[in-house]
């Protein structure tokens, strides 16, 4: 399968910054996959995200979206339409005063014909479970609801990739769950590829690939099972393991014979029970 996004050895340095934010990153995103990007603050996660839809362009190396180079001005809208981006603070990405008008913003910008906009808006709102609230004012919604509106606003472009930059950082547990469930459903039902940047290990567990960034480079890259079995390396980057993985690691240190790779509470409990039997 051809990657939908191809990142080739890119570097980037912010003006006035002492060192590079990205220092030789390569990464392919395949259609329909769910990639979680982890890393401490300042490791370059957000900078990488902004390169995926040409908000930033690399100083060296290149990013290809569906074969189009993000450095080329001509394909800018075509690239942004394919790679939708959702940010941390939902308040700062909602433009309109009414939910459905906000969701219509992107297709209106793209010059989509009115009847088709209506169809896309309704479909996007239904997909994230916000159709009932389509006539509400955004500032009266909860954090999780606002973030889902922001996701719908991007979905209305019918993107192939959804990049989410710490979308749950400002939400309470209920809001986090709402947003993650919506994102997972989206991938499952629409086949949209998801790139989720997060600090929450339990969110990364849901992905089928985990990329760990450190000082502008990709430090680890693999399945959640593989990445979370590299406990010492993660600790060196001051990243926690999910509770389940941490517990299994401690028990193994204590001499118990347990498999690695159980990342959810259910799988972990099952493995421990087996070992105690």
């Amino acid at each position: 399968m051809d990657p939908i996004i191809r990142v080739e050895n890119i570097t980037y340095t912010y003006p006035d910054a002492p060192g590079p934010a990205l220092d030789g990153v390569s990464l392919d995103i395949l259609p329909g996959t769910f990639t979680a990007v982890l890393g401490p603050n300042g490791s370059g996660k957000s900078t990488l995200a902004k390169h995926l839809n040409a908000i930033l362009t690399p100083a060296s190396g290149r990013v290809l979206v569906d074969g189009m180079d993000t450095a080329g001005e001509a394909d800018l809208l075509a690239i942004r339409r394919r790679v939708g981006m959702v940010f941390q603070n939902p308040d700062n990405q909602i433009v309109a005063n009414v939910v459905e008008d906000d969701v219509a913003f992107a297709p209106e910008n793209l010059g989509v014909e009115p009847g088709e906009i209506r169809r896309r808006v309704d479909a996007a709102l239904t997909q994230v479970g916000m159709y009932e609230l389509r006539l509400h004012a955004p500032h009266l919604l909860s954090g999780g609801q606002k973030q889902r509106v922001a996701i719908a606003g991007v979905l209305a472009m019918e993107p192939e990739v959804l990049v989410l930059d710490e979308p749950t950082a400002m939400l309470d547990p209920r809001g986090r769950r709402e947003v993650l469930d919506a994102v997972e459903a989206l991938r499952r039902e629409q086949g949209v590829a998801v790139v989720l940047i997060t600090h929450h290990m339990d969110e990364a567990v849901r992905a089928d690939r985990v990329v760990v960034m450190d000082r502008g480079r990709v430090a680890l890259d693999g399945t959640p099972e593989a990445v979370f079995s590299r406990r010492l390396e993660l600790r060196a980057l001051s990243l926690d393991l999910p509770d389940a993985a941490e517990l299994l690691a401690r028990l193994r240190d204590g001499g118990m014979d347990l498999p690695a790779g159980a990342l959810t509470p259910e799988a972990c409990a099952a493995a421990i029970k087996e070992a105690l039997a």
């Binding site: 839809n53 908000i55 809208l77 942004r80 339409r81 939708g84 981006m85 940010f87 603070n89 308040d91 700062n92 990405q93 909602i94 433009v95 309109a96 005063n97 009414v98 459905e100 008008d101 219509a104 913003f105 992107a106 297709p107 209106e108 910008n109 793209l110 010059g111 989509v112 014909e113 009115p114 906009i117 209506r118 808006v121 004012a137 955004p138 500032h139 922001a150 606003g153 991007v154 472009m157």
Partner: protein
């Protein structure tokens, strides 16, 4: 608390008045305002008041809400009344004591002016009560769209207004939050001389500015991500359609203006 302030006083509803095209409402409000200035007789005021009352009832707006909206204008209304009452020249004295004189003409003028202000303000309130700020912006944009030919960035202006409306509640919330935080650090925003109080506002204003810039910056990026590219080549999900209802409204509006003019001619 600031949160208690009701802003953009729109009362959602599904009445014939709410359903009118915003352009119709904008134009008719303008017509109404002009008509009020044309009124030259008590009969005209009665007609305008009756029209206002009819629309208010049709829109299911509580008269209480209109009156509440007029409250902040009491000062202006009283000032207009006093000015006309005491300073209208004339001989037909109703009351005279030393330099204070009230004439019948003055009383007549004062009452007319107060009525005029009340009718004007109540009329525009009806517009904002029954039309969402967004619809007003939208209507204005389309009414002004001929100006696009003169390179007036009509779409950009209306988008700016729309975003401003969207961010007002956020800014109010944020002001509340920062005020609480600074008060928690012992800030005193309420007492002291004017200079002291102005200085005491800095801990509020600086964070508010900083956060507004941050918001603006993030919003701009988010808009770019959603393919914002200026007004050119843009389409709209919601098309405005003038319907039979709008036609009826225009006919009634014309009848109202005609009525006002006739009453003025007849001097009733």
């Amino acid at each position: 608390m600031l949160k208690d302030i009701t802003l953009g006083q729109y009362f959602p509803g599904d009445t014939p008045v709410h359903r009118l095209d915003p352009r119709t409402k904008l134009v008719l409000t303008l017509v109404y305002i002009v008509a009020i200035f044309l009124v030259g007789s008590w009969g005209g005021y009665a007609l305008a008041a009756a029209a206002l009352a009819a629309v208010t009832a049709l829109a299911h707006i509580q008269p209480k809400a209109l009156i509440k909206g007029l409250k902040p204008l009491i000062f202006i209304i009283v000032f207009t009344a006093v000015l006309n009452l005491f300073f209208t020249p004339g001989e037909d004295y109703l009351f005279r004591w030393k330099f204070i004189k009230i004439t019948w003409t003055g009383l007549d003028r004062a009452a007319a002016m107060v009525l005029r202000v009340l009718l004007l303000v109540a009329g525009t309130f009806l517009l904002t009560y029954t039309t969402s700020p967004l619809a007003i912006t939208d209507g204005l944009e389309r009414l002004l769209s001929p100006l696009k030919k003169l390179h007036v960035p009509v779409y950009e202006l209306s988008l700016m207004m729309c975003i401003a409306l969207r961010f007002i509640p956020l800014l109010i919330e944020e002001t509340d939050r920062i005020m609480s935080a600074q008060k928690a650090r012992g800030a005193d925003l309420e007492t002291g001389t004017l200079a002291q109080r102005a200085k005491a506002l800095l801990p509020l204003l600086i964070p508010l500015f900083v956060s507004s810039f941050r918001r603006a910056d993030e919003l701009a990026t988010a808009m770019e991500c959603r393919c914002y590219n200026g007004g050119q080549g843009r389409t709209r999900m919601k098309q405005l359609h003038l319907s039979v209802r709008d036609g009826i409204a225009f006919v009634l509006g014309a009848a109202f203006v005609a009525g006002v003019i006739v009453l003025r001619r007849l001097g009733i």
